[in-house]
């Protein structure tokens, strides 16, 4: 009786994850140890999300996805179905049959990322929440949203150079195509826009998805720490104290025409940006038209929240030890930070140029808001400005470049997709 019981427990124990980790601690290329490291990283990210409140809406599901996907034998996610040529039809097409029949819960949800469904839906919700009024009122500020994409392209070339030098394992198969694709995916972190980064990466370099998403969202949360030193270093006290003229009121007609016109201009020139820019502008048109209030509420609340959960948990679940615990990930984290810093510098320097050209009417601090993290980057401009001059309210002036940054990074994404997809 007792023997049977022990045997039963023994057999059960042999099927547990604990047994799997312990028996394979160093076997299978350090499977057990790597698993433990991944679980530890997931817990650190959970800590950052819950205690430090780093973009918790995304980082929390990402971290939990990472935790659940790395527990042995759970089989909720098989990233290899999406990236390993062995599982792809002819080495590049998804084997839907395999995914539908053998895939776990997260494999099925991940299709929304892989097929490019979630990021545009999030953009729909963002469009419903965005007021382009400050931009329409001060059209010049849209240029700051372009200047702050500098980090995207400088980091892109930086990653190419690393790839050519063979540092960090970029373009491991040694082809120019892979190097370009991976460099573009890393550069787009500098757009400071999570959905855009995910949209580009899932197409160009799906193996890097989790590292890039985690880098993008972590740095977005760190914007209040990353940006102010550069903003102060590059501007003089007098420039930071510039009080800008009040924005003119914008008519409803302009607000309604804006999304339609932007869609026409952007999609005619960069058709690859259509899913992102199109949905962003659809959301904005729903909001500004004022005739579809119910749709607006759903897009910015329920739909966006549902998609955020699916996106977060599946992106986190792609972080498996063999693709995540590499020198590449560390380098992506470093390059991502560089991209954010260069974008900030690009925005502030262009702000200084605009300040000179307009004869001191533009406070260069609003330039840093050209990175698209809305509304954090604009708040940082407001805060740094107010520290210098307590009666200065830069927030609405900074919202112009801020929302322009969203358009700018979506266009940059479209350019990369047009070139390399």
């Amino acid at each position: 009786m007792l023997n049977n019981l022990l045997e039963g427990f023994g057999a059960f124990f042999a099927k547990t994850g604990v047994y799997e980790i312990l028996t394979k601690l160093v076997a299978d290329d350090f499977y057990g140890l790597k698993t433990l490291v991944m679980l530890a990283i997931a817990c650190v990210l959970l800590y950052l999300a819950i205690v430090k409140k780093f973009e918790p809406l995304l980082l929390l599901p990402i971290a939990f996805g990472m935790l659940i996907a790395n527990l042995p034998l759970g089989e909720v996610m098989h990233p290899q179905y999406f990236i390993d040529p062995e599982y792809l039809i002819d080495g590049h097409d998804l084997d839907m049959n395999l995914i539908f029949h053998k895939g776990g819960l997260l494999d099925l949800l991940y299709l929304g990322v892989k097929l490019g469904i979630y990021p545009p839906l999030i953009f729909l919700g963002i469009g419903c929440m965005t007021d382009f009024g400050p931009l329409i009122s001060n059209p010049k500020s849209i240029l700051l949203g372009a200047a702050a994409q500098l980090g995207v392209f400088i980091t892109f070339i930086g990653a190419i150079i690393l790839g050519v030098l063979g540092i960090g394992g970029f373009g491991a198969d040694g082809t120019a195509e892979t190097i370009f694709k991976e460099a573009a995916s890393i550069g787009i972190i500098g757009g400071a826009d999570g959905p855009t980064a995910i949209y580009v990466t899932k197409t160009l370099a799906p193996g890097l998805l989790s590292a890039i998403a985690i880098a993008a969202y972590s740095y977005m949360a760190l914007i209040p720490i990353i940006q102010p030193p550069f903003m102060k270093m590059l501007t003089t006290k007098a420039e930071r104290q510039i009080v800008m003229e009040q924005l003119r009121p914008v008519t409803k007609r302009e607000k309604i025409l804006f999304p339609i016109i932007v869609t026409l201009v952007v999609v005619l020139i960069v058709p690859d940006a259509a899913p992102l820019v199109g949905m962003l502008m659809l959301g904005n048109l729903i909001k500004e038209s004022g005739v579809a209030d119910r749709l607006c509420k759903t897009a910015q609340n329920e739909l966006m929240n549902i998609v955020t959960i699916f996106l977060g948990i599946t992106v986190g679940a792609t972080a498996k030890a063999d693709t995540f615990l590499t020198a590449k990930t560390i380098l992506i984290i470093a390059l991502g930070l560089a991209a954010f810093c260069i974008s900030t510098i690009g925005g502030v320097l262009f702000g200084k140029i605009m300040c000179k050209v307009t004869g001191g009417k533009v406070n260069p601090l609003i330039g840093s808001a050209g990175v698209s993290a809305v509304p954090m980057a604009a708040r940082v401009s407001q805060k740094v400005g107010q520290d210098e001059h307590p009666a200065n309210f830069l927030l609405m002036h900074a919202m112009g470049p801020n929302v322009a940054g969203v358009i700018g990074s979506a266009v940059a994404a479209g350019v990369f997709l047009a070139l390399f997809a």
Partner: protein, 117 residues
Amino acid sequence: MTRYVDFEPAELIGEGIAYTIMGICIVFLILIIIMFVIKAMALFSAEKTPQEPAPAAPVEAAPEPEEDSLELIAVITAAVAAAIGAGTSSIQVRSYKKLDGEAWNKAGRRDALDNRF
């Protein structure tokens, strides 16, 4: 690891720089076009503005001054009482004067901003 399968390092970097410049130019180009379109749109709607009904004239029917100041005095008394923690019976407002409200406006605006973002 195989490297340099199908390219020369210098060529690849040159190509990368070309893409970089092209990318920056396209982003600027598109946003500049949008800028001009917004400006054109502003002209277009500026023409139309006069046709829109002028904002209704301030409708405040001049309130009964006596009534108003009594109510105001009551409010001030209650606020002072609450702030210093005394009963309203021990406070008597003898006179009040409206100051330039800039300080309160600023505090209010800052408060609203902090709450919203």
